[in-house]
């Protein structure tokens, strides 16, 4: 009974959070439209997806891990590794149909490995994924420390083919992002596995006592996250048509802050994929506005950090209120 009340409280919490996120996104978009000519267009909106397709996928994966109360700081290196490995394999003449499954399965394998170490040896996710981060970044450098261009036909086609709607364009690879968002939404909301993810983050001990497959779930979320990171890497290599070992340093923090702005609680158990997606779009729109304002790019970082701070404090206030309610 008690757990049901708690679950209800959490749902309303995530609704409030999501609402704030959506309002923020809309007001940023409207604000930008009022301030600049030509800002208000379908093309601005689509470009948010075009430019952030890979980040959305990575952030969706991170959301899974955060929902269980874990953390994964290896994804940026995984993305870089995927790009470098794909680029070097493609340069060696391996066809794209072979390269993409290889890099995706390496990602999946890495995630499952880290997940197993975290679960079976009861180690801190932070330190295990830190090892993963070092490993992947190191392996990148082992393959090549220079930027490798990609000239494969399939990759070029994937990078350049787009649908035109009026003057707005949307690249084909963005649809992979949509599929990932949709798939993750379905998994988290309608499958047993998804519900176990939330239960695990709510309270691991209860999840064990309820007989949920804790080991499988915990290992799987890290697998999903690293797989998403590898997929994000594939998309990123479409986007840049190159592989470079120092790509995306610190991207894991962008992914985590997107999830937080989107209403995911870092203690686990609360959060949605849709929220995370909007979180990424908010970061994207801030970047766009900073570009329009002709400001230095570091303003983006400062603004995002300020937003992050505000959101975390709002979350604290809401959860303190929820605790008080429970106390009554």
């Amino acid at each position: 009974m008690k757990s049901r009340i708690k679950a209800k409280g959490e749902i309303s919490f995530s609704n409030v959070s999501l609402l704030i996120t959506i309002i923020l996104f809309l007001s940023l978009f409207i604000g930008g439209s009022l301030r600049y000519d030509r800002f208000f267009s379908l093309s601005t909106f689509f470009n948010l997806f075009n430019d952030n397709a890979y980040l959305i996928i990575a952030a969706v994966g991170t959301t899974f891990v955060l929902l269980t109360g874990g953390i994964d700081i290896s994804i940026a290196s995984t993305i870089a590794f995927t790009c470098v490995l794909s680029a070097s394999l493609l340069r060696g003449g391996v066809p794209a149909v072979v390269v993409i499954p290889i890099v995706l399965s390496i990602g999946l394998g890495l995630g499952l490995g880290m997940g197993s170490i975290i679960h079976y040896f009861k180690l801190q996710p932070f330190i295990v994924t830190l090892a993963g981060q070092f490993l992947m970044r190191g392996l990148c450098a082992v393959i090549s420390t220079e930027s490798i261009p990609i000239s494969n036909e399939f990759y070029k086609a994937a990078a350049l083919n787009k649908i035109l709607i009026g003057r707005a364009k949307i690249y084909y690879y963005v649809f992979i992002t949509f599929i990932v968002i949709g798939g993750a939404y379905y998994i988290l909301k309608y499958t047993k596995f998804g519900r176990s993810v939330y239960a695990l983050g709510g309270n691991e001990q209860s999840a064990v006592l309820m007989g949920l497959p804790v080991a499988r779930t915990k290992i799987a979320v890290y697998g999903i996250n690293s797989f998403c990171a590898a997929l994000a890497g594939v998309i990123f290599s479409f986007y840049t048509l190159a592989g470079y070992s120092l790509q995306n340093i610190g991207l894991e923090l962008d992914a985590i802050s997107s999830a937080v702005i989107g209403g995911t609680l870092l203690t686990g158990g609360v959060g949605t994929v849709i929220g995370t997606t909007i979180g990424v779009l908010i970061q994207g729109i801030i970047q766009t506005i900073v570009t329009y304002e002709n400001l230095n790019t570091w303003w983006t970082k400062v603004t995002i950090a300020a937003l992050l701070c505000i959101f975390i404090i709002i979350q604290r206030i809401i959860s303190i209120k929820a605790e008080k309610k429970k106390g009554k």
């Binding site: 953390i71 170490i117 079976y120 040896f121 009861k122 180690l123 801190q124 932070f126 330190i127 295990v128 830190l130 090892a131 993963g132 981060q133 070092f134 490993l135 970044r137 190191g138 392996l139 990148c140 450098a141 082992v142 420390t145 070992s245 340093i249 610190g250 923090l253 985590i256 802050s257 937080v260 870092l266 203690t267 230095n296 570091w298 303003w299 970082k301 400062v302 995002i304 950090a305 300020a306 992050l308 701070c309 975390i312 404090i313 604290r316």
Partner: protein
């Protein structure tokens, strides 16, 4: 009894690993590794290099150990380094506060103050607003480099002041100046944590924050204090870094060094869950990381491999600390024994 006391000390294992790495280095280099030269009354040599280059990491590790002992983490130290470097270099070069006339001492004091402020900000978020440490310090980590850029107006500020260079390159009695800084800080923190109740409070806070509160410990103040100390030490490391490159590079100063600092503490055997801690152990942890970097250079392989070595090291050390892993190994070992016996 005396012997078991030494080996039981938390700092023993990291110290032994450090010595092992040094011996390994000596062997592969054919003895040149241990060579030390005195040129103009200054000590030169690989070991001196390790200690001097590792001084930043040792400072950070000292602060990080105390933060981790209370059950927290501070991932903003790299950004704080960038801020302190930016403040100090801008003042010395006269870009900000020209009234001070590029006074180095004033620059150092203000840079350290900036570090204290950053630390207090983290501390307030963690202790008062009760945000998870990783998230709370994430804010400053993201914003810090931006703030540093604001101070330097997006440029790389270079300084030309021999007094300022002294922070990294100076020698006193033949030994590099940063070594004295580290020694001073370590001795002070050791006195504080071993000779006063402060160390006990730290461990209590890390083990069980709620129980400590009921026991009458001002948990909030303790947490605030450790973040402030960590921020200050990070600012100190930032000064050494910027004096080393003779300027403030906001984008790269201390980039990802927070990971190394946490790693140093983990290698030192302090649990990341908080509680029991040892500052000397973390210092050896920092030295191990630094000597691995040097070793990779000495081996003549690509320096980028350091990352892979670090990754393997983290896994080994973490596994050796995991009770579950030890149990598994013991089980496998026993089974093999039984098979062999049969």
């Amino acid at each position: 009894m005396n012997k078991s006391k030494i080996t039981k000390n938390q700092a023993f294992l990291p110290f032994a690993i450090f010595v092992a790495i040094l011996i390994f280095n000596t062997i592969i280099s054919g003895g040149t590794f241990l060579e030390m030269k005195i040129v103009d009354g200054h000590l030169y040599g690989r070991i001196i290099d390790i200690i001097r280059n590792g001084s930043k990491l040792m400072l950070l590790a000292t602060g990080m150990t105390m933060v981790i002992a209370t059950g927290g983490t501070d991932i903003s130290v790299g950004s704080v380094m960038a801020i302190s470097g930016a403040v100090a270099c801008s003042i010395v070069s006269g870009a900000i506060l020209p009234g001070l006339g590029g006074n180095v001492v004033a620059a150092i004091i203000l840079a350290l103050l900036a570090g204290v402020l950053c630390g207090i900000w983290n501390g307030i978020l963690v202790a008062q607003i009760k945000i998870q440490p990783i998230v709370a310090t994430l804010i400053l980590m993201v914003a810090g480099r931006g703030i540093a850029q604001l101070i330097t107006k997006g440029k790389i500020v270079t300084v030309s002041s021999d007094t300022y260079y002294f922070i990294n390159g100076g020698y006193i009695l033949g030994i590099p100046f940063p070594v004295y800084v580290v020694l001073f800080i370590v001795i002070i923190t050791l006195l504080f944590t071993k000779r006063t109740a402060f160390g006990l409070f730290l461990e209590a806070t890390g083990c069980n924050s709620a129980a400590s509160k009921f026991a009458g410990i001002n948990v909030g103040l303790i947490k605030l204090l450790v973040y402030a100390v960590s921020g200050t030490l990070a600012a100190g490391a930032g000064l050494i870094e910027s004096a080393g490159i003779k300027g403030a590079d906001c984008n790269n100063a201390g980039l990802m060094i927070e990971m190394d600092a946490i790693l140093a503490v983990a290698i030192g055997g302090t649990s990341l869950n908080g509680g029991k801690f040892s500052i000397p152990a973390s210092i050896f942890g920092a030295l191990i990381i630094q000597s691995i970097t040097t070793m990779v250079y000495a081996l003549g392989v690509a320096p980028e491999i350091t990352q892979v070595v670090k990754a393997i090291l983290v896994v080994i050390i973490c596994l050796s600390q995991s009770k579950e892993f030890k149990d598994t190994v013991i089980k496998i070992f026993r089974r093999e024994k039984v098979v062999a016996g049969a």
